[in-house]
Point group: C2
Chain length 225, copies 2
DNA sequence: GAGTCTTATGACTTGAGGTCAGATATGAGT
DNA sequence: ACTCATATCTGACCTCAAGTCATAAGACTC
């Protein structure tokens, strides 16, 4: 844990310009193996040496490519988050039914996506709550810069359709949506990934559905037109 | 970072029953020094050895008392959070003006409290976002068990006064309040403690007040009667 | 003041992140 | 093919902080 912010982002010095294809491929393989490892072990328990061993390469190699454990995790986190769908990626017929139908679609859907591949979800959980404030700052910068879930566009969409309050500050609505959706999904997901991490223990399916509906009602009242 | 959950909570084995007064006093002194140190350095950069050095005691002593760095931090975190006021600690005249006036009171007030003593706020930030999922789980258990801000009682108060929706699940309202208040306060506070940690950079005071009003409006719509 | 329990000490062990000089591969130019 | 420059890989090595533990010191009881 270096703590030097800059070393997090800037890759090794000799990377003067062109990332050779061989290098690019190896980076990808490292990130994939690391993603799995972080997801399984958690940030602290994960060992860079173990990741190298799994890949059959030298530990030093990983540090050449990513500079530090932080740096490696940051790449892993970005890849994980980028693999998630954006709000407006919902099917057209869902989108046509409106803003809150899209939200409903994704809330229900998240659970299925989780079962298909829980690894990136665990990584995003780690990035959001389980690393270090220094890293968290990088992560927040990334989330603000990329808006990976497309929340901004989604809110604009809701306003254009007249489903969201036109007179409310859009940035406020984006924040509210980000905050509550993240927490609500964490609460749903961690029942399976990390029992006890957030409120409540596993509920039966019908209660989950009821909670989703209830949660959407709250949101509708909060920012709906 | 042991990762063994139990070692986190259960202090050293020989603590069969009665915590002698001498021991209790020393624990307190260690926790206070550690709180300052964690707040200043962050979780990872903080060194148990440094804390011991400041106190002029042996590092081993700290481990005797708290078992691990995690264990020490957990105590520090609990103390920090317990030092915060509960919602219903607001002055009577504010309480009489109603649920949302109490919220407003604390949102404005938080900034002042922060300036008086930023240390526990930073520690709570560390506990919420900057340590480890294992520790985070303990922390969430603690928050659920103790409800240190008195959110449950506060929501009940709002319902009794007829200011909150009687027909909505109270636990849902508690969650919504916890989630959004925490994040909103983080956003306000970290502008000063950790610029760039959350959305937006420092705004002028009048914009902050406007945001508070706006945020309260959202909450009123969301869960208000 | 002997005996017993509690607490403090600091040298020691462990182990993971990180470094770097040298070995090795790659690819272009001739 | 051969050379040479550049990119990449390696693994022994270093650093440093968490955590351990045998021993010493203190405190309390009778």
């Amino acid at each position: 844990m270096s703590g030097i912010g800059s070393s997090l982002v800037s890759p090794p010095r000799y990377r003067s310009r062109p990332p050779r294809p061989r290098s690019e491929g190896k980076r990808t393989r490292i990130v994939d193996a690391a993603m799995r490892h972080f997801a399984e072990q958690g940030y602290h328990a994960a060992r860079v040496g173990d990741i190298a061993a799994v890949l059959g390469i030298a530990k030093g190699s990983i540090f050449q490519h990513f500079g530090s454990k932080d740096g490696l995790f940051f790449e892993v986190y970005k890849k994980a988050v980028r693999s998630f769908p954006r709000y407006l990626d919902a099917p057209v017929e869902v989108r046509e039914r409106g803003f809150f139908e899209v939200l409903h679609y994704w809330l229900v859907r998240t659970e299925h996506l989780l079962h298909e591949d829980w690894i990136p979800y665990r990584v995003s959980l780690l990035g959001n709550y389980g690393t270090d404030l220094t890293l968290k700052r990088e992560i927040n910068r990334f989330l603000m810069a990329e808006d990976p879930y497309g929340t901004v566009a989604f809110v604009r969409y809701g306003v254009q359709r007249g489903e969201l309050l036109a007179e409310m500050d859009q940035e406020m609505m984006v924040s509210i949506l980000d905050w509550t959706m993240e927490r609500f999904q964490d609460a749903l997901l961690t029942e399976e990934l990390d029992p006890g991490l957030f409120r409540r223990q596993g509920d039966p399916q019908e209660k989950k559905d009821a909670r989703i509906t209830q949660f959407l009602d709250v949101l509708k009242r909060a920012i709906g037109a």
